[in-house]
Symmetry: C2
Subunit: 365 residues, 2 copies
């Protein structure tokens, strides 16, 4: 009974916070640039300045990873999410576009507190694309779907002329059922909460960059592409409505994800730089690129914001799960400055951590 009230209260609070949200994004550009696809600031300007206005409706919440859709006469909430995948190259250490397209969408459902169920898969193929490569990618999708426990229920194929695509693009759209005990939202973080990350960050972005040969360094960094629904379910099983927010920090990295949470929840987030797990060779590659690992895409990491008193327990749950071996407590939620994210550095200083601006790593997913 207390649990039910806790859940209802949490859901009501999220609605209240969302309705207070202020528009901070404006679309002033005349042409699309690569940064509109970065997942960072320009993407938000495009979404809030155009799509959110044209499609305005109570279900659309462009900054949550999945929409939660009520169905008349049905006692369940659906989670619904879509992503197009344009990663280049199509095959990279640790994965390929097919696996990425399945796990990416599964993860967007998982962070909505949903059990992923059905995927739709749509292909835009470039004339001349080798069927052998398509076969490899499609088989990889089939295996990923099986690993994540989802069914690819429907699909579509279009072909465009040579030079009008780049091999192939895949769209996957997912439907899941929101767990009745879940009250997670990007607007759900509260002052006092603690922030966890499920493992070492920035590996997907660096692996893809290395596969492009843009960096003349040798490492064995592989993409972290993985399904997160098992890990998210383990957290919700144990902590229920004390999990306030889940997010997979993909394009724009942990920094952009934290900024979205801070903005939508009307809170500040303070990250402790030294607590964020990063492989040394990944850190080295980031330094070569001149990009903060916090701005680099992950495809198999979970960011969780949980009630202060349950944080150690959450860490324990994460570390006990194969997808969370390197989990760490990385920050705290503060009351103000509302909408801001900053990083506490080793020497006692702090710096503001903005969303990704521009796009140093286009077509990362």
């Amino acid at each position: 009974m207390a649990d039910r009230q806790g859940l209802a209260g949490a859901l009501a609070r999220i609605e209240q916070v969302k309705s207070r949200r202020r528009g901070r994004f404006y679309l002033r550009d005349e042409r699309i640039t690569l940064s509109h696809g970065s997942g960072g600031k320009a993407t938000h300007n495009l979404i809030e300045g155009l799509f959110a206005q044209a499609f305005a409706n109570p279900v659309l919440d462009p900054l949550d990873d999945a929409a939660v859709c009520p169905l008349d006469g049905v006692d369940a909430r659906l989670a619904f999410t879509t992503d197009s995948y344009v990663v280049s190259p199509l095959f990279f250490p640790g994965g390929d576009i097919g696996e990425l397209a399945v796990y990416g969408t599964v993860n967007d459902l998982a962070v909505a507190g949903a059990t992923p169920r059905f995927l739709a898969a749509a292909f835009i193929l470039e004339e001349g694309f080798p069927i052998a490569d398509l076969r490899r990618i499609v088989h990889s999708m089939g295996q990923a779907a099986e690993a994540a426990g989802v069914v690819i229920a429907t699909g579509d194929t279009k072909v465009v002329e040579r030079g009008k695509a780049d091999g192939l693009y895949i769209n996957t759209t997912g439907v899941g059922v929101v767990r009745s005990d879940a009250a997670v939202s990007v607007a759900g973080a509260r002052p006092g909460d603690r922030v966890l990350v499920s493992g070492r960050i920035a590996e997907h972005g660096i692996a893809v960059m290395l596969a492009r040969d843009d960096l003349a360094i040798e490492t064995d960094v592989a993409s972290d592409t993985a399904p997160l629904n098992g890990l998210a379910a383990a957290l919700l099983d144990r902590l229920g409505a004390d999990v306030h927010c889940l997010k997979d920090p993909t394009r724009g990295g942990v920094a952009t994800a934290c900024n979205e949470i801070a903005l939508q929840s009307g809170v500040a987030i303070a990250l402790v730089e030294s607590a964020v797990p990063v492989r040394p060779d990944v850190r080295g590659a980031c330094e070569l690129l001149g990009i903060d690992p916090l701005h680099i895409a992950n495809e198999g990491k979970l960011l969780a914001v949980v009630a202060h008193q349950r944080a150690e327990e959450a860490l324990e749950v994460m570390r006990a799960h194969p997808a969370g071996t390197h989990a760490a407590l990385v920050g705290d939620v503060l009351e103000e400055p509302d909408g801001m994210v900053f990083v506490r550095t080793g020497i006692g200083g702090r710096r503001v951590l903005d969303m990704l601006v521009g796009d140093a790593l286009p077509r990362i997913c």
Copy 2:
């Protein structure tokens, strides 16, 4: 009670027919060609020869326009469908890619006997694309969603470099709730049934071709792009389980749609050429192109297969609806030759009507 038994019987029959279905498609190509995107024979080879095998599961039925997904513990069946839109040009007489992307997906839900509810919209944008054009397209989507009574619930934006797309591509994925009184399927046609089409065919394909300036003729042909959910609902309201199959004859036209029905239902379909409504100028343009209007795409026409004794009533319902003013009875379902479609011509002859082979009109939707 009798109705309920009729519905259950119809659903059971569809499952039985589906399970008998034989694979007639093989993928032997080494590279993707434009014909793999035609919606015709090569597309079926790709789907059955690759996707259907890699994704094999009981829900996936690659030749139905939408998958029907059961949800544990929920007393409703979801319809789920996806389509990517790559039409060229983006704006054409009678519509644009945005409107097309909304109505196309709404229609795939409608022909599954579902009430369309939620859409996801994903954009792949080419660097340099004018924001003014994007704004026009997005507003057109918003208006189309309102007209069709669906909510755009979630979305995604990716950007690719100049020369890696053709302005923009849109994917829309739709979720609807299958009407409890509907038992329609591409496998649902039975010998003795009659075939209706809701109006004049081939207008979308011809309008897009004319917009490309590929034909040096002047007409006022406009795309028929329109939502079909109202018309489909009117038919189901009146005829219930006596509507055996609904289909929107898009890529590959009425001919390909009829071939899918014949193959999946294990029946033959005989169309009467003179009964199929075609505008004279559309027929003229088809003759110039050397393509049968039955092979040309429609985006606002409904093909219905209904029980023999309800056919006149179905025609009456269609004609009374604004989307079906020019509806006509165009053919009959026969027992054999199983899987074959033919056309009865004016002079008492008959010719076999195959699926679209090759793709004379690429990127029509």
